[in-house]
Symmetry: C2
DNA sequence: TTGTAGGCGTTATCAG
DNA sequence: CTGATAACGCCTACAA
């Protein structure tokens, strides 16, 4: 690894001249510049971004902390966020907690040092104080700890209302909703309380099952759906995230239930997963791309020292009718 | 952000003493240690990992470059790799090229500086020389440039053979295979040449369609599958990656083809996506978790300066019978 | 336009 | 056991 010093020596100039060429700062005689550039090429020089970062207090990396990369929701989100970050000259460091609290703590510690310029949080299981004290730019996706930390989220209550309408119109008797057990700060809990309220008011039964998200991959959901539907045959509809929604649809069909006549499924998120089955799943679609853009806009503005005005950005969702409700 | 100097001042000791406490290097009197620890707490001190990295020539980050995070294959792979890296004290920096050559070049440049300790490549569209000259630890997943850079891959030919057997047993007449157009170094091309050979020898027709992977999300594949199946009604089987396989299955069913009687689908990869449809897709399953472990073992060994012996690690795949062939 | 000197936040060396 | 001092690779005054 060649250093700036070696380049300077080979080019027969001072170190700072090389630095100037590198950063296009200050004026450098074209011929000096050429000499330097040639020396760089000859030595295959690559500046040490680490050292530059020390100086600039900026490395050009934004971290995103998710509970699991496996789930397509976070995969899609990460995809859009990465793309948007890239256009602004940042790289993404995607980290997964596996829904384990030690891992989250561990990552948070790492983020506080200067390895990254900012953090996008898609999980918050630690004490609130930890996030509040966090010194660096941070944006929360789907979570809210206080009024200071910007939040980007979809309108969970609107989504739940739309789902409720579907169930009510279809005269469901008992709706199951699948809820993530963890997280005091999870805004997605709003969707569950709202669905509960809307359905209860309409005289429709609701059963809420809380699960530890990380313990279920698709096959876990398959088992769960069979267990639940066999144990509670009165359940005639489900609202859940895409992945479990897929599992429930499949289980219902395998149990011989007629969809949408006897059984409804509404998927919350609306990634492509809701269209993979032969039967398109009726879905509450989150505008992931727009949310990603807003998130990246906010975090980069914060990094640039920009407007630290409180942000609570809620995006409307839309109901896309499929064949399951 | 408190610095080590401020901590030292508050504790009334020299800077290097604080460093010693931090790194548990050298002997420090317990009471001095306590003083330092208290000062750290009081100032909410977090050491600057960037600067430490400069010194140690190591930051504890491994990059993984993929063509797209959106596709579940890379999502799953990243999931396992991240998990494995974590247990060894490394963090993952997941980067996506979107299959765009400038982006790959851009990332490669960044990786050559010291921002990361090593790179896992799941895409190689640049000139070979670039990878050969690459100074840092690197492992290739599914690609092979030369004998020096370690490779981890599944047995593509075995997979293709297994698929061919399925098609032959089912007396197919014309099999479509979907192939990624890009990449001279892609080992997955072996599966296509092998399928072609096996089927041709058995007197079964083969049609190969090359696509630019990044231009197709699930909906793109849906369109493609309808177009293709309508234009070439003689096609009675498909081998493709999970995501397009899902699209083709759905399209075939929608076109009223009877599966598996009139139409077969074999998915190559075998992530959970092949089980989302009501009908389980017959799949060639890659042992992603094992491959991830091997990849991480190799890259961390390289980073530690360990055995640089050439590695070409090929994992057997297995055929999992579904209901589509 | 170019070079010298000092600093960024750490760590290693070598006295004391 | 502790403290100066130099070093890592780069960047920014300020001087020439």
């Amino acid at each position: 690894m060649a250093t700036i010093r070696e380049v300077a020596k080979l080019a027969g100039v001072a170190v700072c001249t090389v630095s100037r060429v590198l950063n296009e700062s200050g004026n450098v005689l074209p011929e000096t510049r050429d000499k330097v550039l040639r020396a760089m090429q000859a030595l295959d020089y690559v500046p040490d971004e680490l050292t530059r970062g020390v100086f600039r207090k900026k490395v050009g990396i934004v971290a995103m902390l998710v509970p699991s990369i496996h789930h397509i929701f976070f995969g899609s989100l990460a995809h859009y966020i990465e793309r948007e970050l890239y256009t602004r000259g940042y790289k993404l460091m995607l980290c997964s907690t596996d829904d384990r609290i030690e891992r989250e703590a561990d990552y948070m510690r790492a983020f506080r040092s200067n390895l990254v310029d900012g953090v996008i949080m898609c999980v918050t299981n630690l004490e609130d104080a930890l996030y509040e004290r966090f010194q660096k730019p941070m944006v929360m996706l789907d979570y809210k700890v206080n009024d200071r930390i910007p939040v980007v989220v979809c309108d969970n209550e609107q989504g739940a209302s739309l789902a409720a309408e579907v169930f009510i119109r279809n005269k469901r008797k008992m709706v199951l909703q699948l809820k993530s057990e963890s997280g005091k700060n999870v805004l997605s809990h709003l969707r569950h309380s709202r669905l509960d309220r809307d359905l209860t008011e309409a005289g429709v039964g609701v059963r809420t099952v809380s699960i530890k998200w990380s313990e279920f991959d698709y096959y876990g959901f398959q088992k769960l759906s069979h267990t639940v539907l066999e144990a509670y045959p009165e359940i005639d509809a489900v609202m859940a995230a895409d992945l479990p929604a897929c599992a429930f649809l499949k289980a219902a069909l395998q149990l011989g239930k007629h969809v949408p006549g006897e059984f409804n499924v509404v998927a919350f998120d609306g990634t492509y997963l809701s269209h993979v089955n032969t039967m398109d799943i009726t879905a509450i679609v989150q505008p992931l791309e727009q949310m990603a853009v807003k998130t990246v806009e906010t975090i980069t503005a914060l990094i640039a020292g920009g407007p630290v005005e409180p942000v609570f950005c809620q995006f409307p969702v839309r109901l896309v009718h499929g064949e399951t409700g």
